[in-house]
Amino acid sequence: MAELSTGAFLDRIRTALRRGDRRESALARPGEPVTPADARVHANAVRARAVAAFPVSLECFAEKLTAVGGKVHCVESADQARRLLLDLAAAQQVGHAAICAYPDLANLGLEDALAEAGITVTRVAPSDWTPEIRQALRVDLVQADLAISGADYAVAETGTLVLAAGSFNPRTATALPRIHVALVRPERLLPTYQDLTLLLKADWLSDDSQLSSSCFTFVTGPSRTGDIEQTLTIGAHGPGEMHVIWLVYESR
């Protein structure tokens, strides 16, 4: 039997709806959807508000992320960022690190610092992602102990980072290694999910409703499971340790 066509499937639904209570079909939309154009109009205001609210948002973010086992740090210079990263790497016996070349990480000199400490570094930067290069990258990511990334957004409400898959950020880069460290600039921190949704639409959704990233991952702390006897274990398939380092200084 051939697969059901779109029309045939939807016809079954339409017939069912007609059979049902007509009053229900007139149910009003709870809230108006925001179009990409609307979103872009309001984006700057949302960003400005977020920047102004940073101190309060940071406190909320730190509280929420720490509560689920993530670690939050603030550094006041690129030098401090490098030293903190090296300390974390040393404490966890990191031999191989993968760095996703987020713009926020540029000029921090992380790769050189790690290399000097004797750590193998895989740099993930925009490239011609041929199958061979992709396969080689996968091998590197599987071997890496530490994933270093930035974040596209952060949400204070739940202590969450939002990472968009992109030319320097493979979906699995921050999932395969056992430690994930994200370095994030303050202006990326948003108070609520409402703000996030608006900016996601403004930044990633074109006017003809095309999303330019195939995968947005919301990351909140390390991986965990409670499936055996309801006992919580931190560290399941994803990283067992997760750090967020806020770069609270003026960028050059």
Partner: protein
């Protein structure tokens, strides 16, 4: 339906003619399967211990997570409004979802039932020569028995959610929507892992070690699999985005590593916009595990873009009907489709808390299962499930969408009791259903009619109370009736004592009080 009750006899319509036999209640499936499975579950000490631990843990988590919200009632109302609006316009939103998925390079497949959905997924695997598939947790794939279909076609499915992997190794079905292996002890898990990995596992291995074993073992499969199969917590129509919620990270690997990603969703899981998604996500994680948000939420729109270093080259969304459009068309049951699969109703149900998931005999247990299973698979196959409830209403209170499960359970019981009349004769309290599909015993029907008739006349009610007091005398011990030897009333006193009819009923005491006041 080719089996009918004919006043005390059962009439079976067979290919070769009609067969009339004496009605034997024991041969009826009603109450037999659920009751016997429930009895077995209650006697199972390990299961009772596991349930005691898990249920309060879930309930406590949910209560704390909702208590910290500014206005939980408003959030629940908003969630319900979104679900109601979506289901009332389901065809439009599904059409939009399909367009959006296709616009981003994904493929959409429509499955009228389980067999078709399985055929689609198996065909996708066969066409590509796939022998190994990794799965992240999906109730929809459990509903259609996808693993069985894949295995029959020579494709090995490996579950990667820790709880799902455990029950896959044990050859069992999930016992809870959120914690499928909550009925398994650490010792049982150790034995399963030792067998699966072929390596010895110390009998005192702590749970973190067991988790590490699962991580190492399953990672090999993630990297080798030709296909990743996932469920869909929500699918956003405006952009064609499927949303997958996990804590372990297995969702990221199952959908990110293999070259093809197949997502299977029930048609009712569509959500109009990202703004709506955020409301429902908030309700889902807090209700399911008491978390503000799960460790990972993956929002996936089509296959990888050309500039992305990893991700599947193909994305397929399988949209499943399997009885949902039938439920949609029944006004009084439509809200059963509002369910977001959080499992909160299970955790507060006095029946589920005692018997666990397997007693329900189908993939969806608990209050929502008692409604959906008969609706999806036929009330005639599961006539006892709507009765597996004390109608306490805890499920409706716990539900983040305030689905009126108690009302639907009563409606199902009514449908089951009335059946479809084919040939019947009614006069006063006599109701001869000479031919009907009802499961209700004629004794019950006559007695209820008698009761309903007598209650209309106060004189009869009072006479009944007096007569009842005298008739019960031989059965009363210490002010209670411990046992009524006459079936079907004997069922009432099997597990509890019946209170006695008072010597002086309330209406007499009330009259005396009123007379006393007037005096």
């Amino acid at each position: 339906m080719n089996k009918f009750r004919v006043s005390g006899f059962t009439l079976r319509v067979l290919g070769s003619g009609l067969l009339l036999s004496k009605h034997n209640p024991k041969r009826e499936t009603r109450n037999l399967n659920f009751a016997s499975r429930a009895r077995r579950a209650i006697a199972d000490e390990r299961l009772q211990g596991a349930l005691a631990r898990a249920m309060d843990h879930f309930v406590h988590g949910r209560e704390i997570a909702f208590a910290e919200l500014e206005d939980p009632a408003a959030l629940k109302q908003h969630g319900r409004a979104i679900r109601a609006h979506t289901l009332a316009h389901l065809d439009e939103y599904l059409a939009l979802l399909a367009q959006s998925v296709q616009r981003h390079g994904g493929h959409v497949h429509w499955a009228r039932d389980a067999a078709e959905a399985n055929r689609i997924v198996v065909e996708l695997a066969r066409e590509r020569g796939i022998r190994l598939a990794v799965k992240s947790k999906s109730m929809a794939t459990e509903e259609i028995y996808l693993n069985h279909a894949l295995e029959s076609a020579g494709v090995r499915p490996v579950e990667t959610d820790l709880g799902e992997w455990i029950i896959q190794l044990a050859g069992e079905t999930p016992s809870h929507i959120i914690g499928p292996a909550l009925h398994k002890t650490r010792a049982e898990v150790i034995a399963l892992f030792a067998k699966a990995t072929g390596r010895p596992v110390p009998p005192d291995a702590p749970i973190p070690d067991l988790t590490r074993i699962a991580r190492e073992e399953l990672r090999q499969h993630f990297l080798a699999a030709g296909m990743g199969i996932s469920g869909v917590n929500f699918a956003v129509a405006e952009t064609g985005t499927v949303v997958i919620v996990t804590n372990e990270g297995n969702g990221r690997f199952a959908t990110g590593l293999p070259p093809i990603h197949v997502a299977v969703m029930g048609a009712e899981k569509v959500v109009p916009t990202w703004e709506d998604l955020m409301v429902l996500l908030k309700l889902l994680t807090r209700s399911a595990t008491g978390q503000r948000i799960s460790s990972y939420v993956n929002c996936i729109t089509g296959p990888r873009r050309p500039n992305e270093p990893d991700g599947p080259d193909e994305f397929h969304l399988v949209i499943l009907d399997n009885g949902r459009s039938d439920v949609l068309g029944q006004s009084r049951f439509r809200e059963a489709l509002y369910c977001i699969r959080c499992g909160a109703c299970l955790n507060v149900c006095p029946v589920y808390r005692k018997v666990g998931g397997h007693a329900y005999g189908s993939v969806y247990p608990g209050p929502i299962g008692a409604v959906l299973t008969p609706l999806f698979q036929g009330l005639d196959k599961f006539p006892e499930l709507p009765h597996a409830s004390s109608l306490c209403g805890a499920c409706k209170d716990a539900c983040p969408i305030s689905i009126d499960l108690p009302r639907m359970l009563i409606d199902l019981r009514q449908i089951e009791a009335e059946g479809k009349p084919i040939l019947n004769f009614r006069f006063w309290i006599l109701d001869f259903r000479l031919l009907s599909t009802s499961n209700q015993r004629w004794v019950e029907r006559v007695l209820f009619r008698l009761y309903g008739w007598a209650l209309q006349y106060p004189v009869l009610y009072r006479l009944g109370a007096k007569v009842g007091y005298w008739v019960q005398r031989p059965l009363v011990r210490d002010g209670r009736i411990p046992s009524v030897p006459v079936p079907p009333f004997s069922g009432w006193t099997q597990f509890r004592d019946f209170p006695q009819v008072a010597a002086q009923p309330f209406h007499e005491r009330w009259s005396k009080l009123e007379d006393g006041e007037a005096a």
